[in-house]
Symmetry: C2
Subunit: 229 residues, 2 copies
């Protein structure tokens, strides 16, 4: 059986950028599970698998369909317990929700603003229209005004990584000695930035940069299969 | 054997406020372990147990002396594995370092600025002098100027709790269904604020407020043994 992963794409299908899909790809690699990728644009999502989902990643795993990167990780951990753990026990599973909260409420909004025009410009025309309309509704202003606000985020981004730096003084990964799903959560956000934007958000010599490079090396350098923008 | 916990105190020994000591007290309660508290002022710390530590909490547990709230939690988990877990496995232990990073790099600096004069005013005269000198050196400005900067922190504090709110949509504690050391880490910071400052940082109806109240209820309401300022 080959698993099928529906994954967001822009015009260039060789440069998948969705942070959530990166989390799931690394989760599948971590478990050593094969999968085929089915790239979809924003406006195709409601039509896949008979309207099974409004979001990607969506994973077809045999007769199971699971969406949302966290739910997919839970599904993989429950279904393949004999393979390397993604959470490292119940405490790790619970704490991963906090890591998700931190990544999505702190890093994602900043990267979303910093890279908003880059993301827009990488989409197919039909998806560009959807993206502009939905994001302008969410932010209450034109994309270009959001991008302008993003200039201030560039200055403050590094300071937001202090919790990671503190952790990295004690251990090489959020998962401890090796990576767990929590690492993939934060990696997904920074990989998204790396692929869509030329804005350098990680400085040389930063503990976070060294951790991110370690994550890029994982699973035979899978994260490097897409080059930086 | 009675354990001895050296704990920071101000002039009023019935109102211990150190966030780190609160983490350790709740860790000991969580494990169901008895302990006596030995209150010490800032300037007494270098003299306890023949100069064994520069920081409190310091726990004497039989012939072991352990300082630092995280190291004490690790010690308790390793020494009393048959009692309720503080980390919930290796993944939880690793992630707790990130929670510590978030709490100490995000919440602590804000609370430290907001409550700096409250803390100062609650100390013995000799400790006030030490506190002013060491904090003015750290901040590079008079305590009163730090307190003024803290006014801006009051406005932005609630937004900093978004990662917790995201997590609390899925589960009642950082530890999942019940509390783990990660909960005590964040609780310690907010309990510190609750005890030293009259500034209300948590709003009614907030998911974080409900979680904090649950934490205050733990272990027969141990957190409520000191009233709010």
């Amino acid at each position: 059986m080959i698993r099928k992963l529906y994954a967001l794409c822009g015009t260039d299908r060789t440069r998948p950028f969705s942070p959530h899909v990166w989390k799931t790809k690394l989760s599948l690699m971590h478990k050593g599970l094969d999968f085929d990728v089915a790239p979809v644009g924003f406006t195709q999502i409601p039509r896949i698998e008979q309207g099974a989902t409004k979001i990607v990643p969506l994973l077809r795993d045999g007769d199971r369909l699971v969406s949302d990167s966290f739910d997919i990780a839970l599904h993989l951990e429950a279904t393949y317990p004999e393979r390397p753990p993604l959470f490292g026990g119940e405490g790790g599973k619970a704490a991963a929700r906090f890591v998700e909260g931190w990544s999505q409420m702190t890093l994602h909004p900043m990267i979303g603003r910093i890279a908003i025009m880059d993301i827009h410009d990488r989409l197919d025309p039909v998806d560009r229209a959807y993206f502009r309309q939905s994001r302008e509704q969410r932010f209450g202003k034109p994309l270009e005004a959001v991008a302008e606000a993003g200039q201030a985020d560039i200055e403050t981004f590094s300071a937001k990584l202090e919790p990671l730096r503190h952790m990295l003084k004690f251990q090489p990964f959020l998962g401890g000695d090796g990576p767990l799903f929590s690492d993939y959560i934060v990696f997904g956000a920074l990989q998204w930035a790396r692929i869509v934007s030329r804005q350098c958000l990680l400085a040389d010599g930063d503990l976070v940069t060294a951790w991110f490079e370690r994550c890029l090396d994982l699973h035979d350098g899978f994260g490097r299969s897409v080059t930086a923008a």
